[in-house]
Subunit: 395 residues, 2 copies
């Protein structure tokens, strides 16, 4: 069993581990072909990885003509924990070395309660999931809804999380769970999840757009998350879409996030209900006292013209921003996820129409724009991918 | 002397060649440290590179305590040719292995004459530059003002170059000059020039914005040009900046390029002259029959309020687009180049003011926005860098 903190000894071993994670069990001969090592060298590296507890030899492969080659798989004892902390919920999953889900759980929370109580909830959830399972944790990945300093292992001035700035999340969870921890913002983590097991699996350059309470973008270049020089790449929520628009929490006017996104949609829905423009929303507000993006989705499905207008208008604004980014970045795929993506195909239709009309033909000639298929699991799988990328590397 | 078409035999040799190109002559001991090879291995690779004609041993280094190490330099016989084809001019340079300029020349042209006559002019310019120099050409880099298919070695549907689409520029120049040829669009080539010997030398993630007749952006990620999945990344000239703006050559309305850029500025200057709004521009038009971006620069310098307004307005529009891209991409540097960059500091001041106001503080906290220092040589040096990256690689 791999001891906590064990790392591969060289880059061949690191490549073999990632290959086994992404493509499943393989024969030594196949592994040798894939990493361009001789038979004898691959045998040495596999033996070292078995000694370190990273892999198991699981039998003999079918013959390729000569002697049958040994089948190699990631150790059944590897256990990654994926944690996705949202503004109002916590998702936790236990994953094996190939990042298959072994178990998951979810709890409501409120990040405004501060890091102490919320991280205690996280640790309880992990403990509950692991009841009866004896294996130590190989590594922990965490997604958080705000800007992350990788060097510090902490959030830096997250707008919606009072008390969290510079709180040592990585060190605190590492001590509590006895394993190495990697963290990143929720959007990058979800993009990694899409890359690992979603629509994006075979794509190397893509954009993952999350429309939740706020709006953000994960950028994948050459199969890796691109973070920019200060880690703020993909922060598209404050791009100006309207010179005379709503004042945003950031202090500027007309930001994308102030026009669209969960909080903005809830605001517009309540205004439409109170002003009498939408009977449908007024009834819903009277019965539940609060409206959300989900209510707009339901109202639009029911044919409420005000709600259909809000979805179209939001899709149009987001589409214009995406059209610019598509011209600039020329991605191979755009994936739309996050809670507001639940508005579904009417939203997608509007976004597509604007992007295909406004971006250059060369950039949109073969550009799928799709809804995330993973939904809620993108975050925990991506968090597992984040920490496994780190554990399956030499340094 | 390296024979034409010779390549390094392995990735160690390729790294040694790029290191000698970018950092100049070094001792075998320093080279071994830099590429993490043992003394005996680095000695073998250097000897092979000398046999292939890529490097010379040029004496002994100062002692580091033990035996003095041999100094190694790129062969003095390496000759790269950099070619920068613009809409109305051709720049050609001969460069040594370290991409120092050995000679350069420039001629007026008109790409609308078609590929035959223009490439003949290019070949004549190269021949003239190389009169009396016996060395064969190691490789040729070419920048062209339109979208390039690297696979084809040709332009694909370049809007301002009738007759050029799919013309086999790479093969034609390769046959005429007897050397391998690499080509890319002018903006990417200029970005490579900035990366090699401009302000961007030490920066790994940056944007190079060219404002010429049109507007484009070179994107550098991790020290390499990012081209996107279809090679169209950086095509920012057709991002919409004004829903009710001018109709663009691309068929859409309100594109950045239709509002700003050399052609748009000339159009606005002539309109201001003819309508009597600017006496300064009217006089200039009367004397020269045509106005260009340069005239607006001169008029703004002389205090003409209409011209100052055009520069500010253009800088404002470009600044808004850049603000979005800076939030999205979080670069470490933005370099502004191309002919219209000659409008200089009033333009730069306006761009800076919009970007610093509209992008997130995290993305602009340490973001220099500067004018290109290389000016006209960025293209030919970048073309040399493009082909040397290819010749100094294993495949």
């Amino acid at each position: 069993m791999a001891r906590v903190g064990t790392r591969p000894e060289n880059r061949h071993q690191a490549r073999l581990l990632r290959l086994l994670r992404d493509s499943g069990p393989q024969s030594r001969a196949e592994l040798g072909d894939a990493v361009e090592l001789s038979k004898s060298k691959v045998a040495i590296e596999v033996e070292r990885l078995a000694d370190l507890g990273f892999v198991d030899v699981v039998g003999l492969a079918a013959s390729r003509g000569g002697r049958r080659s040994q089948m190699v798989a990631l150790s059944r004892n590897l256990r990654f924990v994926g944690i996705d902390i949202g503004a109002t919920s916590i998702d936790v999953a236990v994953l094996d070395g190939e990042l298959n889900l072994l178990g998951q759980d979810r709890a409501d929370t409120d990040v405004r309660r501060g890091p102490g109580p919320v991280l205690e909830q996280v640790i309880d959830l992990v403990a509950k999931l692991r009841v009866g399972r004896g294996e130590p944790v190989t590594g922990v990945g965490v997604g958080v809804p705000g800007p992350v300093s990788q060097a510090e292992g902490a959030l830096v001035a997250p707008p919606i999380m009072p008390g969290w700035s510079h709180f040592p999340i990585r060190d605190m969870l590492g001590a509590a769970l006895g394993a190495p921890v990697m963290m990143d913002n929720d959007v990058n983590v979800m993009a990694l999840g899409e890359l690992h097991s979603g629509t994006a699996r075979s794509v190397r350059d893509l954009l993952f757009v999350k429309i939740g309470t706020g709006i953000g973008c994960g950028i994948v270049v050459g199969g890796e998350i691109y973070r920019g020089v200060n880690g703020s790449a993909g922060d598209i929520g404050h791009i100006q879409v309207d010179g005379h628009g709503h004042v945003c929490a950031c202090g500027n006017t007309g930001c994308l996030e102030a026009a669209f996104g969960g909080a903005a949609l809830a605001r517009d829905a309540e205004a439409a209900a109170r002003s009498g423009r939408s009977d449908w929303l007024a009834e819903r507000l009277a019965s539940s006292n609060v409206l959300s993006a989900r209510d707009i989705g339901a109202a639009a499905d029911a044919g409420d013209p005000v709600s259909i207008g809000l979805v179209r208008d939001g899709g149009n604004r987001l589409g214009k921003v995406l059209a610019s980014l598509v011209s600039f970045f020329n991605p191979g795929l755009v994936v739309i996820g996050g809670g507001v993506a639940g508005l579904g195909h009417p939203l997608l239709a509007e976004i597509r129409s604007v992007v295909y009309r406004r971006s250059l033909p060369l950039a949109t000639g073969n550009l799928p724009i799709v809804l995330s298929e993973l939904g809620g699991t993108a975050g925990v799988v991506g968090a597992g991918r984040l920490i496994s990328d780190s554990v399956f590397a030499t340094t």
